[in-house]
């Protein structure tokens, strides 16, 4: 983390002041640190703790330590109990990964196209820029209901009109693509906004030089725009991927909580935890989701050398 560059150099005799400043900084940070410990640290610790227990949500005090049995355990009768042995969990993992990869990819491509269009000069540019903000401003639950209506097989513009009365959402295999379309619609504008901000910070004289050298727009895009946008693009990608990996609301609203459990990792964890009241099992699944996401963060950060400062 870089030291604040705008602060003027202080005189040497200020060791006492430095120490005082450090103490003051700690006091200023204290409320935030307490809040984070209370709403993030402590609950996370409890999730890890309960993942090793057989415990019920309604009576967490009556718990028994069972080690990693929530993750993997086969009874003497050969019944698989651990969630890692549950095909439904792996289905949820597969669907979440598919959802993440496809929707983030499409969002990036569409976001790039929209940003490039809005970045060029034409009449009505301001209006399109404004229109871009609309899907982003719509709450996720609302956009999920809007699309559930569009997909409806007897009333929906898409379900009845385009697809001729097919119930797309009734079947998990088709539903996942319908959900991807909703997520892409909702968040492409976010991607486009970030890419647009990146585009507008690019130096214009480089493009003039490229024009003079006779480079085509196509070459300019691949050789100039894309490499220069890389840092902004990567951070946007990381954040969108993480959002997609922890997705819950779109599935829950459009498919219902039961089907959401086989479509998203979060939905599966919530079903175990809240609907089935299995505090131990649900915590174990939550730990798995947490670890998967953390591993992906680390891979992103090291592979692409994403810098956050």
């Amino acid at each position: 983390m870089t030291v604040n560059a705008t602060a003027p150099a202080r005189p040497r005799r200020t060791r006492g002041i430095e120490a005082a400043r450090a103490r003051q900084a700690l006091w200023l940070l204290l409320p935030t640190l307490i809040a984070i410990a209370l709403v993030a640290g402590y609950p996370l610790y409890r999730t890890f703790y309960f993942s090793l227990f057989d415990a019920n949500l309604t009576s967490p005090d009556q718990r028994t330590f069972i080690g990693l049995d929530n993750f993997w355990f086969t009874t003497e009768d050969g019944v698989a109990v651990g969630f890692l042995q549950d095909p439904k969990w792996w289905g949820a993992v597969k669907n979440t990964l598919l959802f993440t990869v496809v929707s983030v990819f499409l969002e990036t491509v569409f976001g790039m196209i929209i940003a490039l269009v809005v970045n060029s000069a034409f009449k009505g540019r301001g209006l399109l820029r404004t229109a871009m903000l609309v899907p982003w401003a719509i709450p996720t639950v609302v956009s999920a209901q809007m699309w559930a209506y569009l997909y409806n097989d007897s009333f929906g513009l898409i379900g009845r009109g385009l697809l001729g009365g097919q119930a797309v959402l009734a079947n998990t295999d088709t539903a996942i693509w319908a959900l991807i379309a909703v997520d892409v619609w909702k968040t492409t504008s976010f991607m486009a906004l970030l890419i647009l901000a990146g585009l507008q910070s690019l130096p214009g004289d480089m493009y003039e030089a490229a024009d003079v050298d006779g480079a085509s727009k196509w070459t300019q895009f691949w050789r100039l725009t894309l490499p220069l946008l890389r840092p902004a693009l990567l951070v946007a990608l990381v954040f969108r991927s993480l959002d997609a990996l922890r997705v819950f609301d779109v599935m829950s609203v459009m498919l219902g909580n039961v089907n959401a459990a086989s479509t998203s990792m979060t939905g599966y964890a919530r079903q175990a935890l809240i609907d089935n009241q299995l505090l131990g099992m649900g915590s174990a699944v939550s730990v798995a989701v947490f670890l998967i996401i953390m591993v992906i963060v680390v891979i992103y950060v090291t592979a692409f050398r994403v810098k956050f400062d």
Binding site: M1, T6, P8, R21, A22, Q24, A25, L28, L29, P31, T32, A35, I36, V39, P43, L44, Y45, R46, T47, F50, L57, V117, G124, L127, L128, A131, L133, V134, W136, A137, I138, P139, T140, V141, V142, Q145, M146, Y149, L150, N152, F155, L157, W185, L194, A197, G198, A232, F239, R246, D249, T266, A269, R270, L273, I274, S283, S286, V287, V289, F308
Partner: protein, 306 residues
């Protein structure tokens, strides 16, 4: 320009293709929302019509009347407002303290704290769901025990106000998990951009850090506070997983909309659902359009820089 004189046909072809693309993008971005608005203005019986007849059907406000007379929806709006405003105010207050410390002070462990805050902002909410749920329930049963033990009616009411499960206070508290890291991160980057001379002068005059923050930096940071507050408000207003889990009857508006149902599961009242959706969305869209520029700068400070 060169192409316009050299090969007008190709030029106009290119322009036409470009404007078609613009039109396509606009339709893609707006059509679902426009259709939802249209549906909210049609009577439920008209849903069976073909799209063309549907567009031409008479406009009615009956869906809006029905939605506003639905007690759960009214309460949902009320609770959403309390929860979103509450969590934003708390985060802005304590987040600006932290941002000031992180943006201006030099001390050991600063980068560790920044990374912790960044780490919390990539947290999957599900990882704390069970822990928070049992924490809220546990705090409430402790309160219940205290209320039973106390004999004073006033104390009972004071203690009752601190209940967390199914109460706005519990949601405000749990929303801090995403509003605080966000506000701290964005405000820190704003604080860094404020010229240091301002506050150096206050320091020389012997102002305490809190005086400096409130009297010198806050006025300068106003646009940043508004932007950050607005973005945090939008996140809190839209939150669904915690609201669904930590409330049973005092639902916020997204949960009310998600569970808006008719007589049977197969009889979805789409007209009222769309009307309710429009009601919760339009204020956000207006806010976003008014604060367009701030929002884009806030998003890029929050997302692109980290």
């Amino acid at each position: 320009m060169n192409l316009k004189t050299a090969n007008p046909a190709l030029y106009y072809l290119q322009r036409t293709a470009f404007y078609l693309l613009v039109l396509l993008i606009a339709v893609y971005l707006l059509a679902p929302f426009v259709w939802a608005v249209l549906t909210s203005l049609r009577s439920p019986g008209d849903l069976f019509l073909t799209p063309r007849e549907f567009i031409a059907a008479p406009t009615t406000l009956q869906n809006y009347a029905q939605v506003f007379s639905y007690p759960n929806f009214q309460r949902g709006l009320f609770y959403s407002l309390i929860v979103a405003v509450g969590s934003v105010l708390v985060s802005l207050l304590i987040g600006s303290f932290a941002a000031y410390a992180l943006g201006r002070f030099r001390f050991k462990g600063k980068s560790v704290i920044l990374y912790i805050i960044l780490g919390v902002s990539v947290f999957p909410q599900i990882a704390v769901l069970g822990g928070l749920y049992s924490f809220l329930q546990g705090a409430d049963s402790a309160l219940n025990a205290a209320i039973e033990a106390s004999s004073s009616g006033v104390l009972d009411r004071v203690l009752d106000a601190f209940r967390l499960y199914n109460r706005p206070l519990g949601l405000i508290l749990s929303y801090l998990i995403f509003t605080i890291p966000f506000t701290v991160w964005v405000l820190t980057s704003f604080v860094r951009d404020i010229p240091g001379e301002l506050e150096e002068a206050a320091l020389v005059d012997g102002a305490s850090p809190l005086q400096t923050l409130f009297l010198v930096l806050f006025p300068v940071m106003m646009p940043a506070l508004v932007t950050t507050g607005l973005l945090a408000f939008i996140n809190a207003w839209n939150e669904y997983l915690f609201a669904l889990t930590f409330t049973s009857t005092n639902r916020t508006v997204p949960v009310v909309i998600a569970n808006y149902s008719g007589a049977t599961q197969f009889d979805q009242p789409w007209g009222p659902i769309m009307a309710a959706s429009i009601v919760v969305t339009v204020p956000l869209i207006i806010l976003v359009l008014v604060f367009q520029r701030n929002i884009v700068s806030g998003l890029t400070a929050g997302a692109v820089k980290g």
